[in-house]
Symmetry: C2
Subunit: 217 residues, 2 copies
Amino acid sequence: MRYIAQVLDLAILGVLMESELHGYELRKRLYDVLGWRATVSFGSLYPALNRLEREGYVKAVESSSTTVADIPMTGSFSGEVAAFRAGRRGTVRGPRNKKVYGITPEGERRLGALIADPADDERTFALKLAFCRHCNPQTRIDLLVRRRDELARRLAEPRANMSGHAGGNRYVRALRDHDTETIAADIAWLDGLLVDETAPTDETEPRPDGGTKGQDR
Amino acid sequence: MRYIAQVLDLAILGVLMESELHGYELRKRLYDVLGWRATVSFGSLYPALNRLEREGYVKAVESSSTTVADIPMTGSFSGEVAAFRAGRRGTVRGPRNKKVYGITPEGERRLGALIADPADDERTFALKLAFCRHCNPQTRIDLLVRRRDELARRLAEPRANMSGHAGGNRYVRALRDHDTETIAADIAWLDGLLVDETAPTDETEPRPDGGTKGQDR
DNA sequence: GTCATCATGTAAGCCGTTACATGATTGC
DNA sequence: GCAATCATGTAACGGCTTACATGATGAC
């Protein structure tokens, strides 16, 4: 079975959707956005970037104005010389031998497809939600509902009928009870997001009174 | 770096500590105890059992009285014959070609060492807690404190200074806020467990007024 | 000139999965 | 007899990590 929704693809395309970045910076950004949830190592990040480039979803760009912290032209020449010396002439490289990637139109479509793909788990859901503003409202609602249903299913499942035998000790029970509460809270949160989603407010940010977080929690 | 605290070892030794089981049943029990958290596939379970047997932590036992649902002697003979016919004479097998495992004294020590090992993550923590009643109080407290500290660290970390650039959209914010709340709830839960742990109540189960769950949440 | 950090990559291996294969037992 | 379930295993592979290797750049 071929996985469609891979964590790395989602993560990379998602952050590249926001801005052009090179691998090293991309990883940091990913951490900023998703914290401990997405600790991607370089050993998997760089091969993934190369693969995505081969597949045409991202491409190396001149590290131009769009990049966040970009030293305009100082030292750029020596950097280029260094890159030249290093024999890296095949690809587009920036000053510090950086290779800045941008997302292609195909990549954008791919990201949309990844988010829309109904096969999601713990890891992919967070990523999909983080980047779901790039897809249409219905896909977004579907994502939230799907997640909600999955959590509801977990709440409903029998789980540990500890009648009679050892195994139902206090620690297992504590764990199970806490799970139940956490899942219930998650569902409430998702319901809140769904309300926001169906409410016909404009997508622009300000709105001083609580929109995402609010009174129902 | 050699991992000490492997999920499978913890899970297998932990449930075998409760009762003697064969692989198939063990997996179900594991699900009962830990739910979606520990979905171990047979493809990894059986090799792991064999490995643990080689290492002397578990051993095949006569599927005797201790097993939960054990058909005493009916059809047992034909089962043995079948097992004989199947050429399984090397090892101890039950009626349905079952191989029932029990934990050895070395296995118990191993389980204790696994629980005490300070390298824990999301997956191992739950398992350790589930089976921690088999280890001494201080190890248990250490485990809880370690987890608490880790979560507190996550709460404290800067995470997403979204000043200025795209990336701080409402969905990322919703995710981050929800994370914060979940972690805070987890810490409160751990604090509750720690209070229970330090309070000098006996470990026996009854105690009508809330012990594990309580008034502070 | 040297150290920390930035930056990119490769190789090996771990931990686990899915898919497949086999056979026993039970229920109908 | 036949299907569903119980029960155990193997083979292939997938995704990700750690450890290693290389080099550029900036700070001092």
